[in-house]
Amino acid sequence: MITNGHWLPSQTNNLTINYQIQFTRKMVRNLFDILRYGLDVGEKLGADYIEARLDDLQLRTLVKENQKIKETNLNRRRGIGIVAYFKGVPGYSYTANLNRNAVKACVENAFGIAKASADIASIKLDFNRREKTTKVHDLKLTVNKHPKDFELDYKLDILDRVEQASLKDVDWIKSTRALYGEFYGNKYFMNTDGDEISWEPLVVDLRISVTATGTGDTLVRGVNSKGGSKGLELFEKKDSTPEYLGEKAHERADEQREAKASPAGNFRALIDNQLGGVLAHESFGHCTEADFIITNSSALKGRLKEQIGTELVNIYDVGTPSKKHNGFWLPYDDEGTKTTKTQLVKKGILTGYLHNRASSKMFKQKPTGNARAINYRFNPIPRMKNTYFGPGDLTEEEAIEQLKEGIYAIQTSGGQVDPSEGTFLFKAVRGYWIENGEIKYPIKDVTIKGDLLSFLKSVENATKDLEISSGYFGGCGKGGQFPLPVGLGAPKLLLSEATFGGE
């Protein structure tokens, strides 16, 4: 059962703590009762099915730039969201007010807008009632150092250390930016099928960016980050300490200072774990989201069981990734469906899509638990969980050797995709020119562009070092819901050909 203890935000100040306790006790005692009340109101109105969610999420953002604190922000997002179905159409409404009157008005709104929309919907989003319902309370990850148990100064110290490590005594650094983010809280879910679920999401994230002056007047960057559903002990691991992350960012910026511009044209290529992960998510993953399939908005519509990539391509979407990775932990989606490990591509063959309850019925596929909402103000829509390319068996050295001649593109600062056409464009942060199977020199301004199917058909080999990461900064954007925490990952992927843009 819920205890009041969970709800106490960490406090350093005796003056305010009394107020907090009174507040939380008064508002929070019977959360499932409030949700149940909402369900009852909706059933009386005549809704076919209703679900009620309550999110209470805490987000902390710390930003330090050029050794000065820029932001120490704390956001609490607490509210209730109601989905009411009428004749296969979901209506959504939400409120940050947790009293009965507000919840009643919210259910009436959700039902009213569903009813008004029912006539114009030619696609009905029906689904079968659950054969077996779930009752799970207070599901959470076991971590050693949960951020809620640590004071602000502990986190400011981490931020300070990562920035200091990135600086060193050099004259070529123009600016530094260090970011710390944490996200945790409680999510409650209930529906008229009888599911009753509560669980605690958690993400911590540390990032550092060093901007330096390169040759001529150009500016170059070195970046590093580490994040995932972990406690603060993440930053005590050898390759994740603030000192290690900062020093690496420094080295990368230094190397980029002398980098040559990336050549433009078609080359053999090696893409690193991070860029590969972003391509798994952006260029491929979105095209498997069932709503894009249903509305003819995906380049992968009608291609199930088709060979869309080489035999080396295996792509998965998983809810609860292994602890050895830094993925995002998502045991249940926002329709109360238990998340699965979904294989989307098996040896190059498209084997599945990512579903909510309605689309899994429509496609006669097993539920995958991909209905997600970023917070109480949004309805759940098909989104990814942790999407990644499966590993191969090469080492990095072997991959570079097999590349022979071409571009090794590393990390990414973002990009753009069009899921309906399957086209994409991504910027790598840095890279190397490879000749005779050896690294020749660093390159900058690396842009990779192409289309999904050519990309998957160009995968020639992969390394064995699968990396999955997630974080607080950035994330996935869709339907106005940004940034949703997702995990993404890949080994290093060897491509027979990729198109690079340059100047």
């Binding site: 350093t12 604190i69 609490r76 919210c106 509305t295 103000r377 086209t423």
Partner: protein
């Protein structure tokens, strides 16, 4: 909260927060409260998404000496406001480091004008919004059998925000707006082309044909042919693509923070000639129909009209109070909050207004022997190098111009150039100004960009 009493309710709640903050030991405090009601309906290829609700919340900044803290909380109850105050204070009390450049929150000053409000938007019923959305969808879907996917979306929104602070500032701003968006994909054999159209207005718009216009554009693009050319060409950009172009051009270069931190290309060019004689640009926070027009900005400074470029000469940067002080200028009323009550103020444009020229669109095209007409969205504009201004975009919706006429659509082409230097290579400024969410611009023709296709 009801719209007609929203201002008073927001101000009264903010006052409660300020009293509480002072009572709890804040030396300075700023309470920002905001409420935005939206009804959103989307019909995407027959699948309907319907949402209705109010995004309410409070963001509190407190200062003790030069130490600052910020906390936000969803909801507009006294409890939510007090919670945010308490959390902000707990932050400030555990921060060791001072923000040495901080002086104070903004003081009392006269208030400017709000933009136009339209009660008809507030009064729209769910049924009316549903019916408008469906018309938009059907107009697009039924235009041609090559349309494989169409979407119509409507958002009717109204709301406001209030700011009250310990330095005597107290004010509130209201808005109404209506958004229509349509997105269409057309297909022929293996080829797919997408197109979108939208309208965002503070008042109910006149008769629109967005669905049909959007579908027509997508279907026409199916006849695209390769350009088979690499080199410099004149390019004509319509208002939709120019909107993104101007936003990227000014996001960094005239942002007072970037000027102070020496990341702006224009930082040492005040008074210099940066564009052609015909280029006159303002940042207009007082344009009555502008989407970002308010009586006060997001920290309480009155919005105003700022001359940015006058006859090609750079006149001013955009500031909030913090960076205005550091830049030895005054705030130009450009404080915004990216995520509303969940953000602290930062600097951004209100509405960038390009003074129109006197050439009609057809006359601009008529004057070009060989060139490119770019419309709709271009990929990669958001990844331009804002320090140097270099950009390289992929245009999926472009046409070839030959001998003064638009000849045929083109397969994807790449266009590369420099945002800042391009101000001097403008060939024509059209007379066809269009208001978009953050820009009011006519069609613009540039010389000298590199086109690859």
């Amino acid at each position: 909260m009801k719209f007609d009493t929203l201002k008073d309710n927001l101000l009264s709640l903010a006052d409660t927060g300020l009293k509480y903050a002072k009572n709890q030991g804040a030396e300075q405090a700023e309470i920002f409260v905001s409420s935005q009601h939206s009804s959103d309906i989307q019909n995407q290829q027959g699948m309907v998404d319907a949402k209705d609700g109010s995004n309410d919340g409070v963001g509190v900044r407190v200062a003790i000496g030069k130490k600052l803290g910020f906390a936000a909380m969803s909801g507009l109850t006294k409890e939510a406001v007090k919670h945010a105050v308490s959390e902000a204070l707990s932050v400030v009390k555990s921060v060791k480091e001072e923000n040495v450049d901080f002086e104070s929150f903004v003081g009392k000053s006269p208030i400017a004008k709000d933009g136009i409000l339209d009660d008809k938007i507030v009064a729209l019923t769910t049924e009316e919004i549903v019916s408008e959305t469906n018309k938009l969808f059907l107009d697009a879907k039924n235009f041609d059998e090559k349309i494989i996917s169409a979407s119509g979306q409507t958002q009717a929104s109204y709301g406001g925000y209030a700011i009250v602070n310990s330095e005597g500032m107290s004010g509130a701003s209201l808005y109404t707006y209506l958004v229509y968006v349509t997105f269409v994909t057309a297909a022929q054999e293996q080829k797919r082309k997408s197109s979108f159209e939208f309208s965002v207005t503070r008042t109910m718009p006149d008769e629109l044909n967005l669905g049909k216009d959007c579908a027509e554009k997508a279907v026409k693009l199916l006849d695209s042919k390769p350009l088979s050319f690499t080199g410099p060409l004149p390019t004509v950009w319509n208002q939709n693509v120019m909107s993104g172009y101007w936003q990227m051009s000014f996001a960094n270069s005239i942002n007072g923070r970037q000027v102070v931190e020496k990341n702006s290309y224009f930082m040492d060019k005040l008074g210099d000639k940066v564009g052609i004689d015909g280029l006159t640009i303002t940042d207009d926070g007082q344009l009555p129909e502008g989407l970002n027009t308010n009586c006060i900005d997001y920290e309480g400074v009155p919005r105003r009209t700022t001359s940015v470029i006058e006859k090609g000469v750079l006149r001013s940067f955009l500031y909030d109070s913090y960076y205005g002080r550091l830049g030895k200028a005054e705030s130009t009323g450009n404080a915004n909050r990216g995520q509303d009550y969940e953000s602290t103020p930062g600097i951004s444009q209100t509405t960038i207004v390009i003074q129109p020229g006197n050439k009609k669109f057809d006359d601009i095209i008529a004057g070009i022997d060989k060139g490119i007409y770019v419309m709709d969205n271009v990929m990669g504009m958001g990844h331009s190098n804002l320090i140097s201004g270099d950009f390289s975009v992929v245009a999926n919706s472009a046409y070839l111009i030959e001998k003064g006429e638009i000849v045929h659509p083109l397969d994807s082409i790449t266009i590369a150039g420099n945002l800042y230097k391009s101000f001097k290579s403008i060939l024509e400024i059209g007379s066809d100004s269009k208001l978009l969410p953050a820009v009011k611009t006519p069609t613009i023709a540039f010389d000298g960009f590199t086109v690859v296709g």
